[in-house]
């Protein structure tokens, strides 16, 4: 029981990270109907930016953890947002209205580019980082198994929830959010009604990339080790989360992320660690076959 509770805590933490990435996938798919294959790699770039920022702040002598984390969060989100903007601008916008495979191939190219760019510029070896916030709370001690809630997990969940709250406010209450939702419903009509669709799409990528960078920082804090390849697997899992929750639905993305995180952690705990990725990918296939619209998604009507 205590063991299961511990796994639940771990699963929720991991699921928060997946949820943050999944939001980026689902927003872009909702608006322009493409799978932004490079999104997972933007997440990876975000993790590296966070690492660089934390190291830089450490060298400058800023070691008070909340301050260092806030600066890092803003820095990584800002630069990753610039990456998102540039990627959309360079690789996707010229292909809008082209045949359907073209943006996907371009996105795959962008993903390979980002991975190898980081590999070349930062080195191929894994980057370990000492824990910023060691220790935690022991919330339950039963039968010799202590359920730990680490400070890091609390920080991750709190940060994620506040970022998601800001994001929800942005989408539901601001003019920008309104134009994003309008573009999602009907891009052409939104353009006819005077919404600057190009700018809205750009901003969608910017916001998605910033959220992915936050996820990157959380990943770095949680695992303490990153390399240039983390974006690929995390990206597919986050995409699975987006599909599972119903692609195009923002709460669905977070819900799907939580589910994927929980499934992965419980699978690793009770079955085998080696096959945890297989479990996640199989869920993707099963979800698409039996639940193609996801949990919170709308069924789309096929018109002839």
């Amino acid at each position: 029981m205590a063991y299961a509770l511990q796994q639940l805590i771990n699963g929720i933490t991991l699921g928060m990270i997946y949820g943050l990435i999944a939001v980026g996938y689902t927003m872009v798919y909702g608006i322009i109907g493409m799978i932004n294959f490079a999104h997972g790699d933007v997440f990876m770039v975000g993790a590296f930016l966070s690492l660089i920022s934390l190291l830089g702040l450490g060298a400058l002598g800023i070691t008070w953890v909340p301050l260092a984390l806030s600066i890092t969060l803003l820095f990584a989100a800002a630069i990753a947002a610039l990456y998102g903007w540039t990627i959309e601008r360079v690789a996707y916008r010229p292909l809008r209205g082209s045949f359907r495979l073209a943006p996907l191939i371009s996105a795959i190219g962008m993903s390979i580019t980002l991975q190898n760019f980081v590999q070349v510029s930062q080195g191929a070896r894994v980057k370990p980082m000492p824990a910023l916030l060691p220790g935690g709370l022991t919330i339950w001690d039963a039968e010799g198994f202590a359920v730990q809630l680490s400070w890091m997990q609390i920080a991750i969940v709190v940060t994620t929830l506040s970022v998601l709250a800001i994001f929800t406010w942005l989408v539901t209450k601001t003019p920008l959010g309104r134009s994003m939702r309008a573009c999602e419903q009907d891009l052409k009509m939104a353009g006819l009604l005077g919404i600057d669709t190009d700018q809205t799409i750009s901003l969608t990528f910017v916001i998605g990339a910033a959220l992915a960078a936050v996820a990157g920082l959380m990943f770095l804090l949680y695992y303490g080790v990153i390399d240039f390849y983390i974006g690929f697997i995390a990206g597919i899992k986050a995409f699975t989360a987006a599909v599972l929750g119903g692609i195009g639905s923002l709460p669905g993305a977070v819900l799907g992320g939580l589910l994927i995180g929980l499934i992965e952690v419980f699978w690793s705990a009770y079955f085998s660690v080696e096959y945890k990725d297989v479990a996640a990918f199989s869920i993707l296939a099963v979800a698409l076959i039996f639940l193609p619209t996801g949990i919170l998604g709308r069924a789309d009507v096929e018109k002839v």
């Binding site: 660089i52 060298a59 359907r100 191939i105 795959i108 190219g109 993903s111 190898n116 070349v120 597919i236």
Partner: protein
């Protein structure tokens, strides 16, 4: 950056009075390039200018501002060049393109036979390096043609093609080692096993829409790799399988002893290592030609026509009574079959396989070859494989040759560093090619069946891979 709407090719430039002067345009260009450089500085100063290095007491930062500045300067210059290229008079550019297309079309008639002849004659250059490179290119040509059946003909986007390549390679290695069978017996078996996997994987997922199908096939490719890596008792896990038997020519082996029963001993010549290399080259050459021939024949069969019809419009297909599931499955299985053949060849050529050879990058490379080749065009796929796989290698060779000739250390330096940047260049090339030529190199299509004289149709009119 301000919004810049690119005028389409039909939007001819207005009369001079609305155009800003040369100086104004120059200033605008510099401003634009400056902004690009500013963005580039934001992108590259943190990632290139600061390096995380492993020190004795953990990670620490090292400065490399020079490198970042070089990249930013490159972006500035690149943007200027791009702007001036775009600013050339439009009508001239259009005429250029048309003339080029016309010339390419006429040349196309000669390119295919020329390629075939030079491929057949390549081993006579007697250079081990070129034969090895040719074998690699031909492997990708074969994979490209195999995937072309799935993506180009049937319009099903498959991002996990490497799974079948892996199944073929491992089937051959395991069957040959366990039962002691030779290459030519195992080759069809490996192909059939891969085709079975194609059917097994295809059956549940073929109801999915295009993009979803892509992601699920990608997931399957990864699952196969993870299983191969972790099923140590069968596949020896990440260490891979060694000592895979080499192929024989009618029972003649290519060992270096040169006794009876070896190729050299039978023909009474000196045994050399190049004999096997050349033999392998002709094996893959034959396999690739087989793939091409089967594809071309299949396109004339009802099944092949059903594939193409499916690509164009699934709903129409269904209402005309074509069994969509079977059609998709046969396309998947046929593609997988050739992937399996190529995998078996890969295993026998390397004599060593490990899961590392079957990553997503391979799938992406093959898909890129198919798309760059212009989906469905056999010649295009061959050209694309030549450019994608051989191009960088040739560039490296050219640079080092130039460096040797001119005693220029700069060329030599770039040539020696190229492999490091191989995948980076590959990724960028994918993006650039998609942006410049989203329809691939050979973007026209002659219909397989037509009333009277067949006419070339523009690729823009061919619906691609909606796959529904």
């Amino acid at each position: 950056m301000s919004k810049r709407s690119d005028p389409g090719p039909q939007a001819a430039p207005q009369a001079g009075d609305q155009q800003p002067g040369v100086l104004g345009r120059l200033a605008g260009g510099f401003r634009d390039a400056g902004l690009s450089a500013l963005v580039a500085a934001g992108l590259f100063v943190p990632m290139v200018g600061l390096v995380t290095n492993m020190g004795p007491d953990g990670l620490r930062l090292r400065f490399r501002i020079g490198g970042a500045l070089v990249v930013v300067a490159l972006v500035f210059v690149g943007r200027l060049v791009m702007l001036s290229w775009r600013a050339r008079p439009r009508s001239e550019a259009v005429r250029d393109n048309r003339a080029l297309a016309e010339r390419l079309k006429r040349a196309g008639r000669y390119i295919a036979p020329a390629l075939l002849v030079s491929a057949a004659l390549l081993p006579f250059t007697d250079s081990r390096y070129y034969v090895d490179l040719g074998t690699l290119v031909l492997t990708y040509v074969m994979l490209g043609w195999g995937l072309n059946i799935v993506v180009g003909l049937a319009g099903l986007l498959d991002l996990g093609y490497v799974a079948f390549y892996a199944v073929g390679a491992y089937s051959y290695a395991l069957i040959a080692q366990t039962f002691g069978l030779g290459f030519w017996v195992c080759l069809p078996l490996a192909g059939l096993l891969a085709a079975c996997w194609g059917v097994m994987l295809g059956f549940p997922v073929l109801r999915l829409r295009g993009d979803y199908l892509a992601i699920v096939t990608l997931a399957f490719g990864e699952i196969i790799r993870v299983v191969i890596t972790n099923w140590v008792s069968l596949t020896n896990g990440p260490n891979g399988i060694t000592d895979i038997p080499r192929p024989t020519l009618f029972g003649l082996t290519f060992s270096m002893e040169g006794g009876p029963g070896t190729f050299a001993g039978f023909f009474g010549i000196e045994p050399t290592t190049t004999q096997r290399v050349i033999f392998l080259y002709y094996v893959i050459f034959g396999l690739a030609l087989l793939t091409n021939w089967v594809t071309l024949r299949l396109r004339r069969l009802p099944q092949g026509r059903a594939w193409e019809a499916l690509r164009e419009d699934e709903v129409a297909c269904r209402s005309l009574g074509i069994n969509v599931t079977t059609t998709k499955l046969t396309a998947f299985a046929t593609g997988a079959l050739f992937g399996g053949f190529a995998g078996a060849f890969f295993a026998t050529r390397q004599a060593f396989i490990s899961p590392e050879s079957f990553t997503f990058i391979e799938s992406a490379t093959v898909l890129a070859i198919v798309v760059l080749g212009g989906l469905g065009s056999q010649l295009g796929v061959a050209l694309a494989a030549l450019i994608m796989v051989g191009g960088l290698e040739l560039l490296r060779g050219l640079l080092s040759w130039l460096g040797d000739q001119m005693h220029n250390p700069v060329f030599l330096g770039i040539a020696s560093e190229l492999p490091l940047y191989r995948m980076l260049i590959f990724g960028l090339a994918l993006v650039v090619m998609m942006v410049l030529r989203p329809r691939g190199l050979v973007s026209g299509r002659t219909p397989s069946v037509s009333l009277g004289e067949p006419h070339e149709i523009a690729a823009e009119l061919v619906a691609q891979g909606r796959g529904a």
